[in-house]
Every structure is written in C-alpha cells, then in structure tokens.
Symmetry: C2
Subunit: 598 residues, 2 copies
C-alpha cells in the first residue's frame, strides 16, 4: 500500500460475532518503530462492516491493524433502552448492569428508575478485559511517499542533443534550457543514462549492427574505460556541472531523475574487475543479452544468481546511494522485470528506510501480474499500457481498472504518450491533432504523466519503417538537431495544460476518475474532483473529423450552471444532465472544463 504525505488511509473491516452481543471495533496505527499504538473507534457501516481512517503525516512507513471485542456493558445498555421503551420493569436489569460496571446508581434501589436509567446510559463502558479483545492477525503497512510520487509531470530529454547545432551538448547546456522546461510546467526532468558509453559492439545510427566513426552510441550501453554506473560521460561534463544542473533545477522546483539501467557494455570496468558477476559461456566468453533468437552483443546482463550475489547486490544498491549522494531523489529503473524480484524488494526497502523521500519508477512494459508484482515489491510509480490504449472502449476499461481495482492501493500509474522506444501508430498518422489528444488524455486522466521531448512537442512522427514503433533516426543512437523554437511547437499548449494541472487539485490524484456516457463513440468524457474542484474533460479521439454529440453528466440537478474551458477559453451555460459538445481536431480537439459551482 502506498500513500502520499497528508493523505488518509481508510481502513474497512468485517467485524461480527456469534449471538447478539454488541461489538466494538478499533483501528490501531502507528509510525513504524513507535512503541505504542494510536487507537480510534471504527464506525459501524451496516451489514457487519466497519470503517475508520487515519492520517499519514510523515514520510516513511506506518503500520495498522484492527481490534475488536464484544462488550457486555454496551450490550446491556443497548438492551436496557429497548426494555425501557417497552415499559418493562428494570429493577433486575439495573442489578445485572451493576455487575458489569461500577456505577453506584445501579446498585442503589432507593433511587428513582429514571435516575438509575440515566446513570446507566451515561456510564462509560469499562475497558474490555484483555481476554475478550481479538486483534487481527496481520499488522498491515503503508509506505508514505513524497507528494511528487502521486502528482508529477515528467519531461524526458537526451542531454547530448540540447544544443541544436549537432554538437554534443553538456549539463551546462541543459541548465540553459531549464527556463523552457519550467515554462512548459514540468517538475521532473528525466535523463537517460549519463555514463560513459561502450565502444565494443557499439550500435550505429538506426540501431545499425556496426557503428560508423563518429557515431555516439546508445546511452544504455553503459560503461567504458572512463568508468561505469558511478561515472559521468566526459562530454556531458564534470560532477560540478552535474551538481549545478541539480541545484539550478531545484530552484525551479524541478527534480532531476536518473535512469538506472543495470547492464554493462563489454567495456564496463565491472566486466574486467568482476567477471564472476556475469554468466560465462562454455567458450570462455561472457554471456551477452538475448531474447532468442535476437542477440544483443553490445550488452552484458548481470547474473543476479551468481555465487557472489551478495557482493553484486550491495554494489548495485550502492549505485543508487551514490546518486542520492549527488542530490538525485527520483530514479527511473530500466526493465526491472528482467532483474531479480528479490533484489528489488531488498534494495528499495533498504533505500527507502534511509531515504524515504526517494521515488522509483518501474519501466516494465510486460505482463500485468509482473507489473503489479514490481509495484508491490516497492516501486513508487509504474509505466502503463496507456501508450497503446487509443479507443474510447480501451481507455475507459483500462483507466477504470487502474483507478477502481484493488491494485490502485499499490500501483501508481505514470502514463506516457511517447517514449524514445515507442512512437505509436496513432501519432504516426494522426498529425498535430493526435499529439494534442494524447497529451490532453495523459495530463488529465493521470496525476502522473510524462513525455519524451522535444520529439513530442515538435510532433516527430516518422517511424524507422512502416509497422515499426521505433523512431526514424532515433535519438537513442545519434545527436539530434531539434529546433525547439519552431512556431508550430506544442510547447505553449503543454505549458497551459500543466498549469491547469497545478491549479486544479482534481487533476492531482486518480481515485475520483469517472467516465460519462456520450452518444458518439469518438467522444471520450470524464471527470475528476477534489473537494470543491470539479474538472470535466471532453476529447475528440478522431484526429481527422469534427465530432459532436450529447454527453450525460449527472450534475446540476436540472438547474443551469456554468462550465469554463480552461484549455480553449470560453464559458458555457449548461442545464441538466445532457449537454452538447462539438470538437474540431483542426482547432482544438478537447475541452478541459472547470465546473463552476453555484
């Protein structure tokens, strides 16, 4: 279970017993390590169901459980009221009550029945005998993360391309564009691996098997003679440069997130110093990465089951600690599902115990149970299938699952309309409207989202070949010359969207998401709310044609009310449940309405 600081944990329990005795239930909670529990009465919610909520105000872990007992005095009070309402003689009942609690009036037969009755009903039940108290056999726990684990806006960028002139850029160049990133409203700047890149078996442009002279290689081929996971690529700059980037970003409330990819190029110092951390082939070579029959000879995976695993695991954990020491709190973890579950459970628990402010994003695009398992093992956020969900049916089903299933308690979606590995067909063919639709969906369906830029705002949409989701001339293998100042850039629109997210609490969490019917399958309509803030979004999923229809939004009780389009501008007066929308992809394919309450 996960929460962000300041949230509540709602605990529900079925509490019942045999017979007719009155049951009392309490919620117990404490910050992990505290030696006594806080206790709070639970409220009866009908049908043997009870609930109570406790607040989590500190980063770290809280524990909670439930205890309950049958209370003879409460039972007696409840029954006494019924007997009195029926006009029965209560004298023996008062004596029974006197045997259950020390209430002098109950013993004193000289008092009027009314006086004794009032004393009975006002008496506080004695503390329960310990032998009657049943505590739930499990102590449950919840991890409390910083707010940014629940609400974050990520921008992924290859630092080496930020100059725009084709020359290898540095962290100092990244510092220069921080104002642009801030203007677009991002609060996490995520960098692919920043380490030295191997030369052996280096891939060329468009993933060519052989690199040409001058090819810069993939940042994920980590490690060269200059160092490995704890070193910086020499052309990106020094640690001083990196520190300046972290600190300048922090001034703009932007967190630097690093990519942790536990794999090595053949030139990584680990390969020479610790060959026992890798698997050996019978011919004496080291086992390269494979997905048979595909071979990735530029990459050596670690052997998490090596006899020296303890040494290896400690070293890998120290990679996180190293970067935490350099001011990084957020880590995107590359392909965690191809590494050991046990390693992640141990590693993240150890790191969070000392650094509860850290956030770990799981980049696992794999089977649902594996993605859920990684979230249960400790990852704070998780990549999702959003990138491939484009129709109204798919989006409705998937986001209903993400926000309503039990998994919502531990699986925090972080949704991406594109990544350096995934250029979806919808973006390849849908033009500018498709790019607007997908970023509006990401920004308003999910409190955590990110995009890979400037490819996104510049609407890069050409695949390597037809049917491929890879970008042509992918930035993974070469330095790009992005023209960020292009007049058609989506940067202003993205900036407006992210400002709307910052100003509307409804968009900062996911639990309240509700879809609303429309009579046109190309129109997706949904709302989110938080306290008084109510946001209603209508999106035309068809990037080609104007779509119009009636939506059914249960609001207003038949009275008129106003909706204000925070994205496109304009205020509309609506009445009742059914209202009309029409969206033109050539102008703006979405409304993001704030519902103005009476």
């Amino acid at each position: 279970m996960k929460r962000a600081v300041g949230e509540d944990v709602l605990v529900e329990a079925d509490v019942f017993t045999d017979g007719h005795d009155a049951v009392v239930a309490e919620l117990l909670w404490r910050f992990q390590g505290a030696h006594s529990w806080e206790a709070m009465p639970m409220k009866f919610a009908g049908n043997d169901h009870w609930s109570a909520a406790f607040p989590v105000e500190r980063l770290g872990r809280y524990e909670y459980t439930v205890r309950a007992w049958t209370d003879p005095f409460v039972t007696w009070q409840r029954d006494l009221a019924k007997r009195r309402d029926a006009g029965q003689d209560l004298s023996v009942d008062f004596l029974i009550g006197a045997g259950l609690a020390d209430v002098p009036e109950l013993r004193d037969a000289s008092l009027a029945a009314d006086v004794r009755y009032r004393a009975a009903m006002e008496a506080v039940p004695p503390l329960p005998d310990a032998s009657r108290v049943l505590t739930y056999e499990k102590t449950l726990s919840v991890t409390v993360d910083p707010l940014r684990a629940r609400f974050s806006t990520w921008y992924e960028l290859f630092p080496r391309s930020v100059r725009g002139d084709g020359r290898h850029a540095s962290f100092r160049d990244v510092v220069k564009i921080l104002p642009e990133i801030e203007a677009m409203g991002f609060d996490v700047l995520y960098l692919p691996p920043v380490h030295p890149i191997g030369v052996t078996e280096r891939k060329g442009k468009n993933n060519a098997l052989r690199a040409e002279p001058g090819d810069v290689g993939s940042p994920w081929a980590i490690g060269a003679k200059e160092g490995g996971h704890k070193a910086l690529h020499p052309q990106l700059g020094s640690f001083d440069d990196f520190h300046e980037l972290v600190s300048e970003a922090r001034k703009r409330n932007i967190s630097i997130a690093l990519d942790i990819a536990f794999q090595c190029s053949p030139d990584h110092p680990y390969v020479r110093e610790h060959p026992e951390w890798f698997r050996a082939r019978p011919d004496g070579t080291i086992q390269y990465a494979e997905n048979p029959p595909k071979k990735y000879q530029d990459i050596y995976p670690f052997d998490f089951e090596t006899p020296r695993w303890q040494e290896l695991w400690r070293e890998l954990k120290s990679v996180f600690e190293f970067w935490i020491g350099h001011g990084v709190k957020i880590f995107r973890v590359d392909n965690p599902h191809t590494k050991s579950f046990a390693f992640w459970e141990w590693c993240i628990a150890e790191l969070k115990a000392k650094h509860p402010e850290t956030i770990f994003l799981s980049e696992a695009f794999t089977r649902p149970r594996v993605m859920h398992k990684l979230a249960k093992l400790g990852f704070s956020q998780s990549y999702t299938y959003f990138t491939w969900r484009t129709s109204r049916y798919e989006l409705t089903e998937y986001f209903t699952e993400l926000t309503k299933d039990a998994s919502r308690e531990y699986f925090r979606p972080n949704v991406w309309p594109n990544t350096p590995d995934i250029l979806h067909e919808y973006l390849q063919h849908g033009g500018r409207p498709a790019f607007i639709v997908r970023v509006v969906l990401a920004a308003t369906l999910a409190a955590n989202y990110g995009l890979y830029g400037p490819a996104y705002e510049l609407m890069e949409h050409t695949p390597r070949e037809p049917g491929s989701e890879e970008y042509l001339d992918s930035e993974k293998y070469e330095i790009k010359r992005w023209d960020r100042a292009r007049s058609d850039s989506l940067a202003p629109l993205i900036g407006r969207l992210n400002a709307i997210r910052r100003e509307n609490a409804a968009l900062q969490s996911d639990g309240s998401l509700r879809f609303h019917p429309t009579d046109n399958d190309q129109l997706l309509v949904y709302s989110k709310e938080s306290g008084e803030n109510l946001i209603l979004v209508a999106v035309n999923l068809d990037p080609r044609y104007v779509q119009a229809g009636w939506l059914d939004f249960p609001w207003g009780d038949g009275k008129t009310y106003e909706v204000e389009d925070l994205l496109g501008g304009g205020r509309y007066t609506w009445a009742g449940r059914r209202n009309f929308v029409q969206l033109n992809p050539q102008t703006l394919p979405a409304h993001v309405f704030r519902v103005v309450r009476g």
Copy 2:
C-alpha cells in the same frame, strides 16, 4: 472448501518469476494424514495463470498446495528451438545444455547438429534442485462429504401429526407413511425435535402465552422429567421404534435427519443437574432467552462462556454422538448463529474426523457474513434467503451469487419454499399456481432443497394474522389433522419433479446454472448441464395471468433441435437462439425441458 465424493478439485494459480526463465508448476495433494504427496503438472493457461485438477474419492479431508520452479533446462530447450528456427549455429548452445543435463549427445561434437538437436529436445529435464523449488506457503484443505451433501431432497414433517385423526402419532405411524414419502421422491426425512417437551411456561395454540389443558407444546421446548436431548418423547415411542423408523427409511434410501436445538425448557434435567451451564440473574433465577424487549420464558439458552464450558461443550458434542450411535447421519442445527462459533468449529471438526459421512445443515436466517462464517466453520449445507426471493430480478441476482461467487466453494445452499416458521406472502396469496412455481424453482435452481409438509403439498396458506409469516393454527403448537389423500394434493407433481431430479444429472449440482434473457419480466428462464445432460427451465412467476414471451437461449447454432417437457409432457422443435414460450398458471406454470442433442 467442500466437495462430494467423486468430484474434482480445480486448482488455479498465478505462477511467474522475474526474467525470461521457463516456469514449471505442480499441484500437490494427499488425503489428510498420508505421509507423501501426489504430484501432477499444472497446465499453462496464458497470462501467468496455471491450473490442474485432482479427484477426491474418499470421505474425509484432502490437503493440497502448489509448487513451482524455474527450470534452466526447459528454458534452454525453449530457446534452442528458437535459435534453430532462426538458422543459428548451435555448437556453443549444445555445450551449455550439456552443463545442465546429462545428455551424452550434447557433449559429442562429432555428431551431426540434427542428431544433437533431436537428443536435446527429447531429453527429460533433470529433477529441480530443491533450493529452486518454491512451495506455496499455505497448505489448503477440502472436506469431502457424501453425495447427499451436494444433492438431497428434504421432507420436513411433525411425526406427532401423521395419524390424521388428531391423536398423537408415533414413529410406527411414520413408518406407515414412508411409502408416500418415497413416492414423492424425498431422500431425507427431517424431524423436528423428538424429545420430551417441557410443561413449565409451555406455549399454547398459536403461541399463546399460557397453554390450555391438553395442549402438546412446542417440540423446541426441549426437556422434561422424562429426559432431555438424549431421550425420546414418550408418545413418539421407544428407541426400538426409532430404530425401526431409521432402518425402514434406509431400505427406501431415505435418511432420517434430526433437529439439534441446543436450548432447554425449564424442566430439562440439565437445568437441575448443571445450573452452572446457564446464566444466573441477580434475583437467583436462570436467564431465559430474550430478544429485547421480547422474552421467551419457556426457553433457557446455554451459556457457552460458562467457566465450565469444556464440560458443557463435551456434553453437547455427545448429543450428536448419541444420535449417530442410533443411526442418524444428518443433522439440521437450529439457530447455530446464536451459539458459539468456536464451539461449532471444534464440534463439527471432531465429529467429521470420526464420522466423515455426517451432514450438518445450518438453520441460520441471519446476516450474510454470519451465514458464510458458519459454512466456513464446517456446516455442510446452509439455509438461504430463497424463501424471500420471488421476483425475476431477485432470483437471478441471488442464485448468480450463490453459484458464481467464491462462496460457492464452501457455502452449499439448501433452499426451502416454506418452513414451519415461514409462510411467505407469495404463497398466502398466489393459490395453487404459487405453490407449483415455488417448488419447481426450488427443485430446479438448487441441487439441495426441502419443504415442510404436508402443509406444502396441501397448500396450507392462511397466516396467523395479516402481515404475519406464521401459519394460523401452527403445527408447532398443536397436532394437525392433515388429509394427505386430498385429491388436489401436489404430491404427484412433487413426485414427478423429484423423479426428474433423480434422472437428470444436470439438476444434481449447482455450478452450471445460467440465466437466459427473456422479453417478459414475469418469465424466468435458466439452464443447468452436466456432461451430455442439458436442462432448460422456464417459469411463469405470475401466479395470476398467462405470460408469454421470447427467450434467448444460445443453443443449436441456428439449426433445429428438440426440447422435451419432462414436467408437462410434449416435445417441441426449436430453431436458433430465440424461441417462444407461453405459460398458463391455471394449468402448469413451468416447463422443465430436456434439450435433445443432435
């Protein structure tokens, strides 16, 4: 979990691991107490899901669990096939395989690649290293009951009324009507308490506070000077008479079921001999039963929490053992929810360990969680809300829950259209059609059902007062003069229904129940199947008017097929999904079709 002898237990598990290694999963099971497990490979069902089923052939308890491991050799075989399909050189791969299993061909480089490949794929994977095997942390168990726990047809009858002439009847009189009960097709004959009835505070006719001279009292006011729970009411006969009843019934394949009601009349010998088993009031009297403000002064409940509870519990368990000793295997337990959960768990486990052929029916009409809890604690069958579910919506919802929810694994419904305590409004006002409808529903919706006769087949329908569910002149307080030979009796129809149940396996279990849409809300249509046997039932729920409509039954693939009405007679040729039915309550408000397969 419960099963009947001869059934299967389908076990499903999510089994997955990190990385890309091949997973192998096995189901383990054994009869409780066996010292080794049977093992069976589980089958991969996609999406990390695995399943296997084991048969339960003996009465008692079975245990089962799941174990799994990643298998390097199976992984290697899987990948080898992919590499070969891609035309890759396999020489190093053969050597890797040779390190995983002792297959001589893999080591022998002089052999042709094809020969080595075939040997590789035909090799049996070595047994897994114990350190790689993960066994599910829980050992689960399933109670295997006799077939009658799953499929039974109960007839409840007050033995003292069977003469029909108003005089107190005996077990010998019951023996005389066994042929009638057999002809109606019942296989459980359930008798309300057969013990001496108290005289102190005895209730009169229609539950009058004071009995008149000659009033026989309620059989549930158990215990008098002649004895208690281990004695027979003197007018019912001797133990020899009782034994004859049990043995004559057995010859007709009818089990005698007794009612176990753990409560005492003030005259019960326990009250005198063990006052410490009851709760004392401050005025020195014994606490009578109450549901404040109502008082039941003719009944003393046991105090399950008395300091002498161990003695009390042992004595109560011995009541069951006493009657088991007298040939009784089936017990209907009165109001088990007002007794201790812990008592039932202990008592039923002890009894089933020695007498796995016993069946316990829980008569708890209370909150759903309490009813489920009793089933989990060990009761073999449970009363349900069927008695109050009369509309199409209610019946569909409730029976979908009973047959599809996880609770179906432990909660076996036993449904009753009436009981001596419940004459539902639908029967009060619906006339003969209502009685036919309700018994058809009970007999075909549920594999276990029962009714209280002869009140049922004689369509007794007058309530004590308007709005009451109590019978007027209830048999609970007086001897009735039933005219079982009445020409309008439903006995022949009930006999036909129960014969249909015996001859059609589809009606002998509940899991296959499916409801089918109709375009008329008064028509309820559902099917059940077992192997080749497919039964389709259509019921007109409106006891007043003819109702007709189209049903949607996905069968026949558009071809014509025949349905045979086993209840009303007649064969119909149907085609495709949509077919027409019309049901007249004045003749027969239901079809019970057997679908004749091509």
